[in-house]
Amino acid sequence: MGIFELLRRHRDSTVLGILVLVSIFLMLTSSSGRFGPAQTVLNTVLYPFYSARNTVSGLFAAREDNRKLKRMVATLLFEREQLLQFRDEHERLRRLAEFKETQLLDLVPCEVVGRNLDRYQTTLVIDKGMGEAIRERMPVLSYEGYVGRVTKVFPNSAWVQLIASRNNPVSCLDKRSRVVGMLEWSQFSRFELKQVSVVDDVQVGDSLITSGFGGIAPKGFPLAVVAKVNPQMDGVSLKVEAVCSINFRSLEEVFVVRDEIPWDRALFRDARDSTMVRDLIGGGQ
């Protein structure tokens, strides 16, 4: 019996032996680079099934996902509303705290509810008055600096005369050289620094701040920036022009300085402030 006859008689085992040899040969010589086309075909065949599986499983999961997402949307909307409120409160508190920390002042936040009918916009109407212990001559601040003083108080409102008006000079200080002068409104946003001699050190770009000498405006609040410096005709004084960066026409919120207070009582001194902070902290826990 020849070898071929033997193999034919044991065909099954022969084929198995060949397959085993081929498998071992593949194991010994396998290289991933040669099977790219086969892998492509395999992927082409199987991918639709995998894709369909994902689609079907996605459909089954869609109802549950939809329910979860609806709940999540509701929660997020609620949280968003809370965060928006917290943001506004935080912004107000930050501004208030910053003022109180740095200036140690008892500030009364006021909304500008009106302006006088004068075309020069020299007077504001605010929404706080005697009920908030507002008194005449109290200084008034904005976020950018000193803006004026209270000239008239009513039970629930008050008038504020801006520094950008005639007959309302402010004692000021050159922040760099500490030269003292009187700042008077000239026109538009331009001011004139008076009572400055030629020997005083005032330069273009210097910041002018309230000096606190006049008895009304507290010390250290920005007023204007020196824009031009020239000697006067008399030869002994300087003609100094300054520009104020505050847009008096767009003031919406101002702060009346009710009192100067010790620093340890300055932070959140008001009961309302304390309550707000306590609520915020409690809500965050």
């Binding site: 084929v15 397959l19 085993v20 593949l26 194991m27 396998s30 892998q39 395999l42 099934f49």
Partner: protein, 168 residues
């Protein structure tokens, strides 16, 4: 109960592999549907066809990871051959017999596969075979038997329903 056609069962095994196999595998222990395809075909088509089909199925599996090319082909061709021989000698439609063959085939398959996969490191081989191979063999046997029985029942019902419809 009518014996299901081999082609239908193979298709069901294939669909299960591409649909739920990953979902019902836990800690690497799960049913080996490609093995069931090769073994089921071998039982009903004999040792020669079984070894060839097992080799083809294994090679397709190996294409997913060419660095181990030949591993599945070797194991499945041997298992296919053995399953074909067993199927020729006993009652192939007996679900218990099928489950026994599935289980034994899975054990043998993993035995061969792990021997080469661990490069004859007996320590690793024994741990893997006992921890994964044996439970997976039981899982595979049960899954194969259940699928076979379900397909048989469904097919019988379909044929019966079809016969009633025709009688009207």
């Amino acid at each position: 109960m009518r014996a299901p056609s081999v082609g239908i069962v193979l298709i069901v095994f294939f669909l299960l592999q591409v649909s739920v196999a990953d979902s019902i595998t836990f800690a690497r222990i799960g049913p080996d549907f490609p093995l069931l395809i090769a073994v089921y075909f071998a039982i009903f088509r004999g040792a020669l066809a079984g070894s060839l089909f097992g080799f083809a199925v294994g090679l397709l599996q190996d294409f997913f990871n060419p660095s181990g090319l030949g591993l599945n082909a070797l194991a499945k061709s041997i298992v296919g051959h053995l399953a074909g021989r067993m199927g020729a000698q006993t009652d192939r439609d007996n679900p218990l017999f099928l489950m026994a063959v599935f289980g034994a085939a899975s054990l043998a398959h993993d035995f061969i596969y792990l021997l080469f996969f661990t490069q004859f490191n007996l320590g690793k081989f024994i741990i893997e075979w006992l921890a994964v191979g044996v439970p997976s063999a039981i899982y595979t046997a049960v899954a194969g038997g259940v699928v076979h029985a379900l397909v048989a029942v469904l097919l019988s019902e379909a044929v019966r329903h079809l016969g009633k419809t025709r009688s009207f």
